[in-house]
Assembly symmetry: C2
Homo-oligomer: 249 residues x 2
């Protein structure tokens, strides 16, 4: 399989390197990722400055570092860099989960969505960190195994999958659950401070208000399962569409 690999933690992050190392054994892997961390960039794209691509040597092989967002990397890779189209786009493994509404803010998920928009099946892969422990190697082997078992299905159906690993690594994983996105709301708290010049400024902080509904990605992760959610990219609210048509315009 030919795989385009990207992420939003940057090309030197352990998650993407671990995945690159494991996947290259069976697959042709093209790693094209931001040169630095780009978390919480959402689906940002770079229109107003030139993009530069630098070839760098990683432990797993040669890769391309881009001075842009994850979405930029995928566009650039698919339309200007790769010698031929890949079979699959994989974004990750992200340091930290991307669950529920997070998918709107996540550079990891946006890169996968971008690949999907351009016609390819895509996986967004993220891992919960606990006590600074992240078993990226387990995650990478899980993805490798997933491709062996269901890779053809993923390609044929052109799935866009959001995959999250619970903390703890292989020993503690209880299995896999196919889930829907939870309604995960941030309660944003802005920490208001005064700078040395007497000017007010704010830090964005906040806690997550979890709704751990049955069948949701958040609950699966909480219970120690790998969570796989199929995503759609049509944001039309088809039910409300009918209601609205009945109003007088």
């Amino acid at each position: 399989m030919k795989i385009l690999l990207t992420n939003d933690d940057g090309l030197y992050a352990p998650g993407i390197n671990c995945l690159f190392n494991v996947l290259k054994e069976k697959h042709t892997v093209y790693a094209v990722a931001p040169e630095r961390e780009m978390s919480a960039t959402g689906h940002a794209i770079t229109l107003h400055k030139p993009l530069r691509v630098k070839e760098v040597e990683l432990e797993a092989g040669m890769a391309q570092a881009v001075n842009g967002t994850p979405s930029d990397c995928v566009k650039l890779a698919l339309e200007a860099i790769l010698p031929s189209p890949p079979d699959l786009v994989i974004s990750g493994i992200n340091r930290g989960p991307n669950l529920g509404n997070d998918v709107f803010y996540s550079g990891t998920v946006s890169a996968a969505v971008e690949g999907y928009f351009l016609g390819f099946p895509a996986l967004a892969v993220s891992l919960v960190i606990k006590n600074d422990f992240a078993d990226f190697d387990f995650g990478a082997r899980y993805i490798n195994d997933l491709l062996s078992r269901h890779g053809q299905k993923i390609i044929n159906s052109r799935y866009l999958l959001n995959i999250n690993f619970p903390p703890g690594g292989q020993e503690e994983i209880r299995g896999t659950k196919i889930t829907r996105l939870s309604k995960r709301n941030f309660s944003n708290i802005f920490d208001q401070r005064i700078d040395p010049r007497g000017e007010k400024y704010y830090w964005m902080t906040g806690s997550i208000e979890e709704k751990k509904e049955e069948g949701s990605d958040t609950l699966a992760i909480e219970e120690g399962f790998v969570s796989i959610t199929p995503l759609c990219v049509d944001l039309t609210h088809h039910e409300q569409l009918k209601d609205l048509k009945n109003l007088d315009w």
Copy 2:
């Protein structure tokens, strides 16, 4: 009505100022917007630098300029700045349309989505520019009229609406259509150049591959109608979810 007004073209852009001017006649308007243009920022949020808010005087009244993204503005306004919760969040009027897949890249739409996430009905409002002509005043009066006629319904049902105006202004508008998002794909072309130091760089350009399907927002705009699309924020692909559950995990 109490309205939080924001945009992604920046607080000094004509679209938001025109809307502020018209809406303030009947409503209490709080304008909180980026201090500079933030187009194509997607749903980016600012976690790693402090946010600053500056009170500025616009023609329509006092407003707050934020050194952040449209989503930052909405979060900050709703959780730290506004004296009481608004009835409605409006983002726009954007200079240029936000149709089909654009909604993923659009700061204008993201600001409305952010308001929706935080519990409020929201409108994203955008206007097609043609030959540098933009009738923001028509757009503003349309929104004002929309609120008079259907404001209570929008609030009660907590709608999230993506509204686009065709070019041409009042004389050429043929009416309003309730639409679904089109599958609008960018064909990204990267213009590869060499800088004075001999280094390669790329500009992102590209054309839009329109699929003007019946009932779509793109077609409505093409035909001279105002397009209103109700949006949902659950990206779960519920049909594929059933298929995937049948695989062996």
